[in-house]
């Protein structure tokens, strides 16, 4: 494997707090030294020209279509989209067809990820068999096989007693349970957040409080059982207040949000734009502001892309009938950099924070760590264009938006897995 020396880069490592100009060397696929005085033998020299070199991003929620819906996104195409976004570690939703509810499928996803050679893939295990919300999945055996957490994806549990049992059982195995908080009977059939706009548009609605109601219930059950829970895609201020309060009482709860919830509102569904139909639905401005505050004050622990591929036929439908979800891998970094957070903090939410939540060896520039790296220019702008995005799925809710922050190169375990268009990618041995 080619050794590398990054020259003239701004090293940002949120895990250690480092933000300094310098150099970094990679030997045998691992980070060998920061600011080395000598250059490793036969090393390829990459002149960063002042760009940021940070740990490869860790995306804790990605849906892929494999197995079962490869026409939307395969493991290979999803991995390509990830590395184009500077992401080198992804955690994959289990609600595929078949669902990741048996140990063999956990091994399958892991080995398919390795075959891609682009990113580290960590499957979540199904919380219930077939993610159907009924019978408990083999949480213990799935964990032994390598599932990094448990979830049923975007399915919330109506039955509180069932939730209690699931939390009690996963609690003793010390697994992270990831919950999509949305009171199912209140959300049933809805596709837009309850608001005057949705009334005008004549769309069936989901009240914002459907999120807080479920968060309130599950926090109580977590407190009762001692389980470790994590709420995904938090989109409302009311839910964030409950979570902040629970954290102050040492309940084992964490949460994340996804870029649409701090960068878009219901206004973006405009003329029934189905690419902006998401689950949970885009909220009103006050909730968007609350999510930004939650990011700034630490109530929100991580940012995930919530990449959710759909093909044209999934989206070319009347709004209420269209499939919910948007792609997010390639835009994760750019949208997050616009959230008004200090750069170090924004990158923390995309690297070490999710890695720690999942217990993964990723998201740092530690000496000896796998050289998963993202080189990006924080000042360069680019425009999101559906149809020209990396990966198979093109249903980006950010279509047409200009983002600041362009990924130049991505490295996974020391191997260059993405090179921005127009950059040389031939290894250049040192003289």
């Amino acid at each position: 494997m080619t050794n590398i020396i990054f020259d003239n880069v701004r090293l940002i490592d949120p895990a250690s707090g480092r933000d300094s100009k310098g150099r970094l060397s990679v030997v045998d696929g691992r980070i060998a030294a920061i600011d080395p005085t000598d250059t490793p033998k036969n090393a390829r020299v990459i002149d960063g020209q002042g760009a940021v070199l940070c740990p490869g991003l860790v995306d804790m929620r990605v849906s892929l279509g494999e197995p079962g819906a490869e026409y939307r996104e395969s493991i290979e195409s999803g991995a390509q989209a990830a590395v184009a976004g500077g992401i080198t570690t992804i955690a994959i939703q289990p609600d595929t067809d078949p669902a990741i509810d048996n140990p063999a499928l956990v091994h399958y996803i892991r080995s398919r990820g390795e075959e891609s050679g682009l990113v580290s893939m960590h499957p979540y295990g199904a919380l219930t068999k077939n993610c159907a919300g009924k019978d408990m999945a083999e949480i213990g055996l799935l964990k032994q096989a390598g599932a990094v957490g448990f979830t049923d994806g975007a399915r919330a549990f109506a039955d509180a007693k069932q939730m209690r049992n699931l939390l009690a059982y996963s609690g003793f195995l010390d697994t992270l349970v990831i919950l999509h908080p949305e009171e199912p009977s209140l959300a049933r059939g809805g596709c837009a957040t309850a608001s005057p706009q949705a009334v005008q548009m004549g769309l069936p609605q989901i009240p914002a409080c459907a999120e807080a109601m479920m968060v309130a219930r599950d926090l109580r059950l977590a407190e009762m059982t001692g389980a470790r829970i994590h709420f995904s895609n938090i989109s409302t201020g009311e839910a964030l207040r409950l979570i902040a309060d629970a954290k102050s009482r040492n309940i084992r709860v964490t949460c994340d949000t996804a870029p649409p919830y701090f960068s878009m509102t219901e206004a973006d569904i405009g003329d029934f734009r189905t690419y902006a139909k998401l689950s949970p639905p885009l909220r009103q401005e006050a909730d968007r502001q609350a999510v930004l505050t939650g990011l700034a004050d630490g109530t929100i622990d991580a940012i995930a892309s919530d990449h959710n591929p759909a093909d044209a036929d999934d989206k070319r439908l009347p709004f209420a009938q269209a499939r919910a979800g948007g792609t997010g891998l390639a835009t994760l970094l750019g949208v997050t950099l616009q959230a008004g957070l200090p750069l170090l903090e924004a990158l923390r939410l995309l690297t070490i924070a999710p890695a720690r939540l999942l217990g993964l060896e990723a998201g740092t520039l530690n000496i000896g760590a796998p050289a998963d790296l993202c080189l990006f220019n924080p000042d360069e702008t680019w425009t999101v264009a559906a149809g020209q995005m990396p990966g198979r799925a093109q249903n980006t809710p950010f279509d047409g938006r200009t983002l600041k922050g362009r990924v130049l190169r991505t490295f996974h375990h020391g191997k260059e897995v993405f090179t921005a268009h127009g950059l040389p990618n031939n290894p250049q041995p040192a003289q």
């Binding site: 019978d135 213990g140 049992n165 003793f172």
Partner: protein, 312 residues
């Protein structure tokens, strides 16, 4: 055990002291020897009527009580729910009146509802023996487990006893815990939290484990409880294979216990779920002896209750 006027009942172990428990075990021990030599005294319960009133299917316990009563010379009638008028809408207390009119002396009751034998005991003139009520108690099972342990160790105190399995739904576990605590043993319970409520940890002398290995370490006794197939996939345990992988008593785990530790199971067993077949059939297993002691213990219980009833 409780006594109202001249009638004594055995409704549960909870609250019984060592002084109340030991005479049952002593008498049962002698009945065990007499049963083995085919010399059980047929005149002990001669002329007395024992009714086995079973509202829940149980071949093993009912047969054990029937045999115990017959060995002591009693007249035994088995009433099971399928043939009783309960199915025709009769309430439990109507059943009590009917039984009173029949003048039975000892009433052995099994019922799916916790507290049903206690309710009956308030209304019938016979001595009531609880043969298992809901998730509450199964006192004769605890006595037979205790006797089995005492015969092997020569004592019934200062032992580390691991009880593993579906403790939440087990009346056997509750009675065993009460009895073994009363005698001064160190009790360790193991199971997933869905089958092991944390409330058991509030009892003195009881330690809870969600890792069975910790419960078994240096144990004198490894007792497995049945995990009913109905629990699998019910939301409490995902599957039999996962349960066995996390909590099944196999050779490797048994090796954590003291050499020669007793392996016990109240039956019926789910081989390959809570216990590996080779462990169940190993020389350390006293599962068959538990069944034998069951008859002896039930002889002792029927004998003592019938004598307590006599005007002193």
């Amino acid at each position: 055990m409780s006594a109202s006027r001249h009638t004594a009942h055995l409704l549960g172990i909870e609250g019984m002291t060592e002084r109340e428990i030991t005479p049952f075990l002593d008498l049962a021990e002698s009945y065990a020897l007499l049963s083995r030599s085919r010399n059980a005294p047929r005149d002990v319960l001669q002329g007395r009527t024992v009714i086995n009133l079973f509202f829940e299917d149980s071949t093993r316990t009912r047969t054990s009580f029937e045999l115990a009563a017959k060995r002591l010379g009693a007249d035994v009638v088995n009433m099971t729910v399928a043939t009783s008028s309960v199915n025709k809408g009769e309430t439990l207390l109507d059943t009590a009146s009917t039984l009173n009119a029949m003048h039975c002396d000892l009433l052995v009751v099994r019922h799916a509802q916790s507290g049903a034998p206690a309710l009956l005991s308030q209304k019938v003139e016979a001595s009531v023996v609880n043969a298992g009520d809901g998730m509450h108690e199964h006192p004769t099972q605890a006595l037979l487990d205790a006797l089995t342990i005492r015969r092997h160790f020569g004592r019934l105190s200062g032992l580390k006893i691991a009880i593993c399995g579906d403790i939440a739904h087990s009346r056997v576990a509750r009675s065993d815990i009460h009895l073994l605590r009363a005698m001064g043993n160190d009790i360790h319970l193991a199971g997933p939290p869905t089958l092991l409520p944390s409330a058991f940890g509030t009892m003195g002398g009881v330690t809870l484990h969600h890792n069975i290995d910790n419960a078994l370490k240096d144990a004198d006794v490894a007792m497995c409880l049945r995990v009913q197939r109905e629990r699998m996939g019910s939301g409490l345990v995902p599957s039999a294979r996962e349960y066995f992988s996390l909590f099944g008593l196999d050779r490797k785990r048994l090796a954590l216990a003291k050499p020669g530790a007793l392996v016990m199971h109240p039956g019926p067993m789910n081989r390959g779920v809570e216990i590996a077949s080779d462990v169940a059939d190993s020389p350390q297993s006293v599962i068959s002896e538990q069944v034998e002691m069951g008859v002896a213990v039930r002889m002792a219980v029927l004998d003592r209750l019938s004598r307590m009833k006599r005007p002193s």
